[in-house]
Symmetry: D2
Subunit: 446 residues, 4 copies
């Protein structure tokens, strides 16, 4: 669907179609249809007129570019749309088109519809990424790798735990988006100044019918100038983008030539540089996710609407909201691709874990020894061994055995045990179980 020069990277997945101008147009028409029917239900409009209006509300019948061009005079595309819809409907129903509503009612309600529809593919892709992460967590629960802090090897972990971390983040991000979708996307109907004056005493009634018809929440009162709903949506999208960015960052780091622990299935390769396996999906996910913070800030900064309709802050929301849905959705789609096809080199993980020759376990030896020797002396003995390791035949293990305080207290086979990364994983396995259980519970209740 997207056909721009950069869309293959920045507008990936079904989300792009769901936030297109055509999707916006259909959403506006859906709002006009729901309004007419709600007014019929409230006794304000003859049912057959409402149905005539609803029947005309098909985006394929309208010239999008012409509507866009005509929007210049009034400052928004609803004014020309209402005119065109009236013409499409014809007398006598035309006089009931857009009755009692203002442009912002249509655009705000349409924004909520667009958001809900875009959240479909977006959440699908997030869930796809979650499922892939869950599979990795399960499959690699016993695959040891170096845990790295401040980008330095620190202690052993398992790749399963790393994937469980991603899983939990993705699930939390998705849960927050679902919560916003289910509870906070609401119909907007207020009329010219938020009183629904021209609907007399039927305003609230119409609003309720309309909300139900559109599958949107019914607000306490019109939210045309109270922008908590777009703000919560923005915050949830920003959170989801951040979670994607974390996993993508890890993949690009693990895919480095010198680390080579993972590779993408469809890595962007080079025929003459077969060693080069660019993690294109992770890189693109990172690029898309990087759009979010600034767009969230724009939407939050636009919350100070003036009086009953903002002098600019409302118009300022359209583009960043659309773009935030698109870029976050693209980021999720890329991450899904990345994780679904992730090739994991468990052997290389183990090899990398070995490059410090057991020094990652020094702390463990030290702890064991402390019970025997006192913390300070234990620490010093291990430190001497660590410093001697580089120049000792047999490395750290031999150097440890070379320290009398250690040799006398820890038998050789116990020392070997202590230096086995697989034995120093603490709660890694339990954490994986918990992450998978939480994931399964989410899936079961979905």
């Amino acid at each position: 669907m997207p056909d721009g020069l950069f869309d293959a990277v920045l507008a990936r997945g079904a989300v792009a179609g769901a936030v297109s101008d055509r999707a916006w147009l259909q959403a506006m028409l859906d709002v006009e249809a729901a309004l007419a029917r709600a007014e019929a239900a409230a006794g304000l409009v003859p049912a057959e007129d409402a149905e005539a209006i609803a029947a005309a509300c098909d985006a394929a019948r309208f010239d999008l570019a012409a509507l866009g061009a005509d929007a210049a005079a009034s400052g928004n595309p609803v004014v020309p749309l209402v005119r065109a819809l009236g013409e499409a409907v014809g007398a006598p129903a035309a006089r009931h088109v857009h009755r009692g509503a203002t442009s912002q009612d249509v655009l705000d309600s349409a924004a909520m519809l667009v958001a809900r529809r875009a959240l479909g593919p977006l959440l699908d892709d997030l869930r796809g990424a979650s499922a892939a992460a869950a599979a990795l967590a399960e499959r690699h629960r016993d695959t040891p790798m170096a845990g790295r802090t401040l980008m330095q090897q620190a202690l052993p972990i398992t790749f399963g735990l790393e994937a469980a971390n991603w899983l939990t983040g993705l699930d939390e991000g998705a849960a927050r988006l679902e919560d916003v979708r289910d509870r906070r996307l609401a119909v907007q109907l207020g009329g010219a100044a938020g009183t629904l004056a021209s609907l007399g005493d039927r305003g609230v009634d119409v609003m309720g019918h309309m909300a139900r018809a559109l599958g949107l929440a019914e607000p306490v009162l019109p939210w045309h100038t109270i922008r908590t709903r777009p703000a919560e949506l923005a915050g949830a999208l920003g959170e989801a983008a951040g979670v994607v960015a974390k996993a993508a960052r890890d993949v690009t780091l693990m895919a480095q030539t010198e680390v080579a622990e993972v590779a993408e299935a469809a890595s962007g390769g080079s025929s003459t540089m077969p060693h080069k396996r660019n993690p294109v999906a992770a890189i693109s996910a990172a690029a898309c996710a990087a759009q979010a913070p600034g767009l969230v800030a724009t939407l939050l900064a636009a919350m100070a609407h003036e009086h009953e309709r903002a002098a600019g802050s409302w118009h300022a929301e359209w583009r960043p909201l659309t773009e935030l849905l698109r870029s976050t959705g693209s980021a999720a789609a890329w991450l899904r691709t990345c994780l679904e096809g992730l090739e994991v080199d468990a052997e290389r993980m183990r090899a990398n874990l070995g490059i410090t020759d057991g020094l990652l376990l020094a702390e463990r030896v030290s702890t064991e020894l402390a019970g025997e020797l006192g913390r300070m002396q234990a620490h010093e003995a291990v430190q001497r061994a660590a410093q001697a390791a580089a120049s000792t035949e047999g490395g750290f293990a031999a150097a440890l055995a070379g320290q009398p305080e250690i040799r006398d207290r820890i038998p050789e086979e116990r020392l070997a045990e202590l230096l086995d990364p697989a034995g120093y994983l603490g709660s890694a396995d339990v954490f994986i179980d918990r992450a998978l259980a939480a994931h399964d519970a989410r899936e079961a209740s979905a």
Copy 2:
């Protein structure tokens, strides 16, 4: 408590103390105390040692500036704090200080405590502002004023409805913050690489005890690199700040010399310019709230933590999180001051509503007439009257009566009725009721 040059404006209310460096220090110590006790409960540390540690965890016993200075070497203040705490505790309990934890465990858990404690006064002030808005909504439900769209008078509303808008926004912002506080602020405990390796098989047990002791949620797994929690907190604070900004903007607009519908009780006046009543509280609220979008963006952009501890993105969170709590809290405190003392000039509201001489009701007359005359002809007749109004003795009312199509169809007293703003308020009253009911329900369940 705040004593900086700009703190009177930018760090108003109890929130400032709750996010001070001293508050952070106490929170870190509370985490160390809870850790020791949790390890005692898990059988890893003698109970008396845990109590000895907990007894020493009083910020008043530590030299904050010295700890801060010593933080340079390690890059965070926990390393010197653990050392100082060990010294304060003394043998034999000292060896159990900070057992199995890493610096990030202490700082992340402390951040959650600081957030929860800061949300106390922050929510108090938000609720205070809500209560004031509710009182205004109730008191002014029948006070008509001009509804303004794009900063132009559009249709009549009531000031009560305006206040009900603020009320709903403030309540929604507070509800979101409470939700984050109650469900998403969680203890962090992962040890050096997120496995809790040095706690053997007791890691999850300790984490659970600790969460309960601190009144924080227990996470599925350590969240040291999955930053959904700070992100949700940031998003909720940004939303609350935006709601405050909206109300503050309205107050500054309504307080303009030429509008003069409201004034602040403690307006910053000028002895020689008694006409000048600067809405200092609303202005300061706006200034504080304006900090939020950029700070939220900084926190979202910092979500891409590398591996098991970020190379910068974690450290990058400390200042914006603190500042976001402080500035949003200050914004809420200022708005509370503003709304609690807001002086409303209902007479001036009515006068302003009259300056267009009934033209605000033109649409209403047109609608009434349409039933008689057809939409198009009705519209044209009213338009002629509107254009003639300026040069007609008796203004718009007389000009309407001067149009034969109108005079013949709408009796003079009905015309007068149609031009009465109080009769064209639609669902304003119902909306106020709904906002107040929602507010009462919130309060009742609090």
Copy 3:
């Protein structure tokens, strides 16, 4: 040119075409053409092959949507473009297409071309707005109005001074953009890793030829990972947007129904609400300008490119750079429309200046009196008069004359003089002269 639903508002003016995907495509082709010719000049490519390549570099010959679709595999649109260009050129010249360059060279150089071309209409519109502001400053240098601080009337100014403020801001914003355009938009050519290895010892030579051919600066070295140039462009655009936002904000405030000092020529009106003159241009300018801060933040946050090509941060620049040019250009175009047609109601300005009945001049009376009476006593006497003004027949003037200390020291006609706003304008006129002189100097040197 723009044909989206929201483009009439958010993509106004010629800037939209200048940043379209087609404009990007042509810019990429211009880079390929310049590269081929530069390599011919450097003796690396036969001149006739270079000309054959250049001849094929016409965007009209390429299928933009197909190129965009093919970009998915490689992660950027240059790879399919080079392939398509090679096919268009045919043997034997095809083998010299894109020689020695990498995709980023083409996209970065194209971005600079797009920026320079978009700055054409953008600066035209900024200059148009400046010219309009200059005309207002000159025409209204003697039109007194209320100066407002914190949105309260404070002291008299002239509308000419207000316009001179806008003028200076617009001129400074334009000057900064011109500086970036003239000195900082540079060609990028580095090859696969920034060494231009495959060009042997001719790399710098080719880079120089290419820069001159494209009218871009020649950098010290390739800037593929040193993003000071996009950052400076972003900062300058953000500044220009902010200046537009300031003027737009003032117009919306002055156009309020209750203030009514200005109106836009093509105000968005309502046939039945002739009093309503929505300042659509100012509102749209504000909405467009509001996009800038978040987009600038995105571009700045993307500066930390990894090694010799970023894993995401480079791709993250394309959309916000394009959007920042478009929205800032649209903002400028809207402000130009707004100011060129601005209708100024000098009478209403004077009337508004009078609504505080001379109290705006209280400070002036006080200053005059202080010389006679001492500062404190003078202040108190004027304050008494100010407080009595509301209830005094004849208002503040009479109330002043009613104070013996004042009456005895300031003759009545001098009092009248002191209360004339036109006499208390300080350096307003000189400031206008300075602003106009600076503007004329800019224009003369352009």
Copy 4:
């Protein structure tokens, strides 16, 4: 000087003292002193009174906390400062304190002084980092390393070229900051509404004297609501922070355990994990630099000041401007520490360059062969060799020699030459020369 819990990390270097509240207070007092003397020079104030005022303008004489507390009533700290200064000066000079100025004049001018003073240490540290980068570029101009694109090894570069990239970025960032410092930091003096009304016809004269006394530029007219100056400062700081972030990112990547090409002199080590050399300075630099984008956005978003003094947007600048100077200065200080002590492991760089066994040079062989064999056939032959390399005794070199088309056309010793990274560095050396020459020229003109 900084004594907060996080200041060791986030407020490093002399910049912290330069933006402290005390520094702000002294800057305000310097403005008051310069104002008094400028008014003396303009004949408005007796010279001895001006000197009495100037003599009292010493921050050590004032109670900062008390001034801060008193700022609540008026909304800014200038009001209590003027009162306290008057008391400190005593009669008769006291009556000339702050004459004709408004609070914003003092705060805006002080902000410019604070900025200029903070830019001193900030630029010192940036220059220190540049000097260190220049030394690395010179020392390592012949140290080959792997150039990495998308975090994958791509082609050989030298570490000297990498350092030259940093150097050029740092120099450009510094140059931009110097330009803003020298041309754009201007005095602000406008009086209550920007007309300098109470200075009669001497306003411009006083402004000029004041500018010269403070070493600030003289603006065309007061810039109290035209915020191009803070905006340009913000943009330049954001750019400098981004440049620092790039170099810091590279250092953290090169310092990874698996890469190990660089280490910091004072790496945060661990006594029991001697392999772990945390690049604390680079990490802290990254954390500080990450503050910039959001703060720049806040300052840009605050540009839409209302009328003659903003209702919030002015107050909203104080904190982010201070924080942006502090965090960017801290980032520069950390990077200087990082680069000045950077330990470079040239042997490891060469070893890493070898891990793909010459495949990085495949493209070069292919190019050489193309002349003999035609592009397509050459490409295929090399590709076959590349694929065979892993399973060929003797690796890629032997595999190449194993292909008849290659063996027959490229002699063995030429093949060895082609596979030597040092021979495929293109313009790397020239680029280093250019970067160093540009750096020297900057230094010479400083």
